[in-house]
Every structure is written in C-alpha cells, then in structure tokens.
C-alpha cells in the first residue's frame, strides 16, 4: 500500500546514540553562537592571561631603594641589588639629597656601636633597616610537613575551578530544559526521539562546553605562565592536575545529570529556584568541606571518596602526596558508578515528568513507573 508513495524522502531510523549526538550538537551550537557566551568567554580568557601577566610584571619588578652614603659603604649594602647607592660628601649634602627626594634615606657615620645612623624624611625604608639588622638563625626540630596557606590555596583553586564550571553549566542545563518544557517543544521532540536521548544529549553537549571552557581557561593560564617565564609552576602541578582533569570530567557529568533531572520536575522558569537550591547544595557543600577541612586528614580522606567532593578532594590529597597510587583509581571507580546511577535515575525522572505541565512534579511521582 505504501508503494504508491513515490516521492518519499529516504530516512533511516536514528538510533539513541545518533539522536544523542544530534541533540548535543544543537545544544553546543546554540550556546556557542550566543553573544552572551562569546563575550563572557572572551572576557574570562582575557582576565586570566592579563591577570597572570600583570601580576608577574608588578610582582617581578625588583624595587630598588635609592640611598645616599657618607664615607664607607657597609658590607651589607655593597653586594645587595636592592639599593641604589649614591656617594655623598658629608652629612649636610646627604640630608640635602634626602630632603630633595633624590634618595629615600642616607647613612651617616656617628659615634654609636653600629657605627652609622639612618637619616630619612618621614620614616625609614623597611628594607634598609632589616638589611642592616642582624637576626638569629632559626632551626626547627619538627617542621610542619606542608605549609598551611599553600594547602588552602590549592584546595581553593581546584574547588573554585570545579564549582564555577559546574554551576555555570548546571544553570544552563536547567534553563534549557525548563525552556523546552515551557515552550512545549518537548512534545514534538519526544514524538521523534526517546527521552533518554534528549537527556543524554543535553548532558553531553553541556559537558563538552563546560569542559571545553575549563580547558580553554587552563590553556590561557598556561600560556600566561609561559609568557612570563613561570613555566616551572606547571611542572609542579602535573600529575595531580591530570587526575583533576579526569575527575573533573566525570564529576561534571554527575552534576549535570542532577541538574537536568531537577529541571525536568518544573515547567516554568519561575519555579526553578525550588529545585536549583538542593542541586547547588550538592555541589557547594563538598567544596566548602574541602576549603574548611583542608588540613584535617580524616575529613579529607572521606571527602576524597564521596563522589560529589572527590573531584576536588582527591587531587588536593595527591598534590600533597598523601594518597597511595591506588586511591584515585578506587575513588574514580566510585565516581563513575555514582554517575551511572544518577544518569539512570535522572533519565527516569526526566521521562516521567517531561510531559507534566503546570505545578511541580513531586520526586516520588516522577520516579514511579509511568
């Protein structure tokens, strides 16, 4: 009977994976083309490179303090590059130089035990006084293994990169999902492809964008460090950094699924707050855990195995050499399993609540078989 349909366009049935790729492609293209995305990415990259170069220029400039010296130059001054020494004939000439602002301070001989005095206008330059002072050698019998501030900064760094990337993409996934429900296009989409392909495509597309953006920022940072000749800082990070990237990718998919499933529960943008907050908590609590309990080995060990905090906690522990070689593997396996479970649950919630319009669908209803 269908043979009389002569002008039929040739179609092949799209499998779930093909549909997933197509949905992901649209997701990526529609975001990459938006002005807001382009502008914010360019600004972020410029800030990262600019910030590194600027801080290196400002921080790297060696401050030389101009001083005037009457008579012989003390040994401490002679081999220091921090001082620009001007010879002055006598005390009054030196004072004249200080008053005119040509030098910051002058060393004049006097009858004291030290042998000279510092003459300055309002206050003596710190560097000068400490260069002339004698401080005793400090010897620690039990030095702390790692410096507290560095630990805090590394944890903050990993945590901030992960949290910002994940929250940004999570919000986008949520917005796009709710928008599809709100504009009702979802009914047409569901008539064409299964709900799991829609969900998977969304997660895949946004993960590519999120991971891609993070990679671009990392590349920009590396470029900045290379330009300013601080490349050795990168070598220091390498192994934990690679693990961070691996954990980042899986952790990202995990959080993206949570956000997509949450978004499927509501049908209007105004209602997203109610499901957004619990999803954000899942991301932020482990992050703050790592920041606040960074120096508590017990808490950190636990956090490095909890799937939501592992992407930050495990690389931090590895950075400080506290984790055995097999620990990241087990933690990663847990993360992958958790991701698989969340994706499954999310796709169930997604399928069951996508066509429900109006009030928010309760989690229990959404999980029930339709």
């Amino acid at each position: 009977m269908s043979t009389n349909v002569t002008t039929k366009t040739k179609t092949h049935r799209l499998n779930t994976w093909g549909a997933t790729l197509l949905v992901a492609e649209r997701e990526i293209l529609s975001q990459v083309r938006s002005k807001a995305f382009i502008i914010s990415t360019v600004i972020t990259l410029a800030l990262v490179i600019g910030g590194i170069i600027l801080s290196s220029v400002l921080g790297g400039r060696t401050e030389t303090t101009p001083i005037a010296v009457v008579g012989s130059v003390p040994a401490a001054m002679a081999d220091s590059e921090a001082f620009d020494v001007t010879e002055a004939a006598d005390r009054s000439a030196a004072e004249e130089l200080v008053r005119s602002g040509d030098v910051d301070a002058a060393l004049v001989p006097d009858g004291s035990a030290v042998g000279f005095a510092v003459v300055a206008l309002e206050e003596a330059p710190d560097g000068l006084v400490s260069a002339l002072s004698v401080s005793p050698e400090v010897e620690l019998l039990e030095p702390a293994e790692t410096a507290g501030p560095l630990r805090f900064i590394i944890g903050l760094g990993f945590g901030l990169v992960f949290m910002l990337a994940v929250l940004g993409s999570g919000a986008t996934i949520m917005q796009n999902t709710v928008q599809e429900k709100q504009s009702r296009v979802v009914e047409i989409l569901l008539a064409a492809v299964p709900a799991r392909a829609l969900l998977a495509g969304k997660i895949l597309g946004n993960s590519v964008i999120g991971v891609g953006t993070a990679a671009a920022i990392a590349a920009a940072a590396a470029l900045g460090l290379a330009i300013t000749g601080q490349g050795e800082l990168l070598d220091l990070l390498s192994a934990p950094l690679i693990w961070f990237v691996v954990f980042f990718i899986f952790g990202f998919v995990l959080v993206a699924s949570v956000f997509a499933a949450g978004a499927a529960l509501v049908s209007r943008q105004e209602d997203t707050g109610a499901v957004m907050t619990p999803a954000m908590m899942l991301v932020m609590i482990p992050y703050f855990g790592v920041v606040f309990f960074g120096d508590n080995p017990f808490v950190m060990t636990i956090l490095s195995y909890v799937p939501f905090s592992a992407p930050v906690a495990m690389p931090v522990r590895m950075f400080f050499g506290e984790a055995q070689w097999w620990e990241p593997l087990i933690s990663l396996a847990l993360l992958v399993i958790a991701t698989a479970i969340v994706v499954l649950v999310a796709s169930k919630i997604y399928s069951n609540s996508l066509l429900r319009m109006g009030s928010r669908v309760s989690l229990r209803d959404a999980l029930k078989a339709s």
Binding site: M1, T7, R184, I188, L189
Partner: protein, 309 residues
C-alpha cells in the same frame, strides 16, 4: 490504514479515554471532533507513543506501531511550541534530522516547505521574530518536514486566518492524496465539514459516532425537507402528516414521512413551478451538538442510576 484499537487511559481516578477504537484510512482526511476535555489530545498522544495507554494498541497496516514506525509519524501538538530563539530554517532542518533524515536533504526539505508557506525570505529569522500566524505556519511545517507516513494534527487551524487555513489545508490534502493517513482535530466544525472525508466524534472519552461524513449526515438526518416554489407556499400546512418548521414566502421547511413529502411535491407541481425540493441534512455542528448533548445526558443518567444503586 492506521487503526486505533480499544485505547484506554486514566489519570489518577479519572478515566480520560475509554475504550476508543477507530480507523484512519490511507488517502483520507479524518476529522476528530469533540468538546474540551473529551479526550482528543490524550488519544493523539497515545497514538504518537508520547503517552503510554493503560489498555489497547495502535496498528499501522495491521502491524503494531513500534518505535521505528513512530519515527515516520508527523505530529502537530495542540500546545504549540518550538525553540523561540532558533532560526526557523535551521530549526525545521534539525527536527527533520531528529527523524533520521540526513543534513543536506533536511535543509532542502525545510527550505521547500518554507517556500510553500511563503516564509522562505525569513528562513534566517528567529521564531520569536515572526508574527503569531507565521509562527503557526512554521509549526505546521515542523509536522511535515520529515515527510511523514502518518500525520496527526491537534487543532492545526486554531490561530490561523482564513487565507492561512486554506494554505495549510492544501498542504495537508496533498499529503493525504499521496496515501498518508491524516487525523486532525478541530473546534472549527465548518472547516472540518468542508475538509474531511471521515469523522470521529468523541465525548467524555468515548467514541460516539464514526464513519464517512456523508453517511453520518444521512444517518442523523431526520425527515426534514426544503421546498421552493414560484408562488406562496402557505398551502403546505394543509397537507396531512406535515409539520411546517419554517415558512418564508415561497420557501418552506417542513418535517414529514417520505409518503407525506411525496404528496407535498405532487401538489406543488400541480400548483406551479418547483424551483427546488430536497431533503435537509444536518450540518456537522448540529450532529455534534445532538451527539454531545445526548452523550452528556446519558452520562448524567448513568451517574444518577449508579448513585441510586
């Protein structure tokens, strides 16, 4: 032929679709008519596989409709919706590709359809930049862009001006002529009457009448006749067995058994020139009102009896 067999679906305790069966023939436009909340949209969603039926099945040419057959279905949902911020050409091509059409063909088909619907100049415009009527045309195009094997349209004409209705009707009729079963619902009964070959009337989740349009009209016509003659028609009142419903100078509308009607015609011919004489068939609107009113009265009755028992 698309066959709907014993579909039932309830939401909570409410039985929304109750044992619905009907056929949509190839090459035939089938109108799906019912009041608000009669179960049209739920039935259509079940045909599309968007919603799972509690009971019953959908067959295409006697084979159960599975995922692969569903791929060839075209759907225009009642709740209109596309991506507001996506260019319409690209959007249509994307929807075609979701149905498994390769990119080049999909773009070609999207352009062809936009051309047909007079929107080709605006193919790079975002949907939200179009007027509501034009957005509606794009929505129609979205249902047709993958050259569907079966076309299901929920209220395709709502929100269209008469000119746009004609355009859309032409496009849909073309698909039907190619042997595609077309099922569409509408509140605009005069459009349905003009357009469809077959009818399915649904009320309170049950099919109340189904079949060919003319057969249905025949079936629901009473014994009403219209007569137009050259002189005054007042004499018709005097014929035994005739009840005059309406008399206006030379035309008269009356109810009579066919014997009495023959008598009227005979005496009309004797009295002068007969301009026209014909049985009056009810319009779709009249049939619909009869059926729906009857149905709700019967349901009320059932409920009362049920409550009493």
């Amino acid at each position: 032929m698309l066959s709907v067999r014993n579909l039932s679906r309830s939401f909570g305790n409410r039985l929304v679709v109750d044992d619905v069966s009907f056929d949509v023939g190839r090459g035939r436009l089938t109108g799906f008519v019912g009041g608000n909340g009669a179960g049209k949209t739920t039935t259509m969603r079940m045909i599309l596989g968007v919603l799972k039926p509690d009971l019953g099945e959908v067959l295409l040419d006697d084979a159960p409709v599975g995922e692969s057959a569903l791929h060839g279905f075209g759907y225009m949902p009642e709740e209109r919706g596309l991506y507001p911020k996506m260019e319409i050409g690209e959007q249509l091509a994307y929807l075609a590709r979701l149905h498994g059409i390769d990119k080049t063909t999909a773009t070609q088909r999207a352009d062809d359809l936009l051309e047909r619907l007079g929107l080709i100049e605006r193919r790079r415009d975002k949907l939200e930049a179009l007027s509501l009527g034009n957005q509606q045309r794009v929505q129609v195009a979205a249902a047709l862009v993958h050259d569907p094997d079966v076309l299901i349209m929920d209220e395709p004409f709502s929100g269209l001006d008469p000119l746009a209705v004609d355009e859309v009707v032409t496009v849909i009729a073309e698909h039907a002529a190619r042997g595609v079963p077309v099922l569409f619902s509408s509140h605009q009964l005069e459009v349905v009457e003009r357009l469809c070959d077959d009818l399915v009337i649904i009320a309170n989740g049950k099919v109340r009448a189904a079949g060919e349009r003319e057969a249905l009209r025949e079936q629901h016509s009473g014994n009403r006749w219209a007569l137009e003659i050259s002189g005054d028609a007042g004499w018709v009142r005097g014929i035994p067995g005739v009840t005059v419903a309406e008399l206006a100078g030379t035309t008269v509308l009356f109810d009579a058994e066919s014997g009495a009607a023959d008598a009227v015609l005979r005496s009309a011919v004797e009295r002068g020139t007969v301009t026209s004489f014909r049985p009056v068939r009810p319009t779709l609107g009249e049939i619909f009102r009869d059926i729906v009113v009857d149905a709700s009265a019967a349901d009320e009755q059932n409920k009362r009896e049920g409550a009493a028992a």
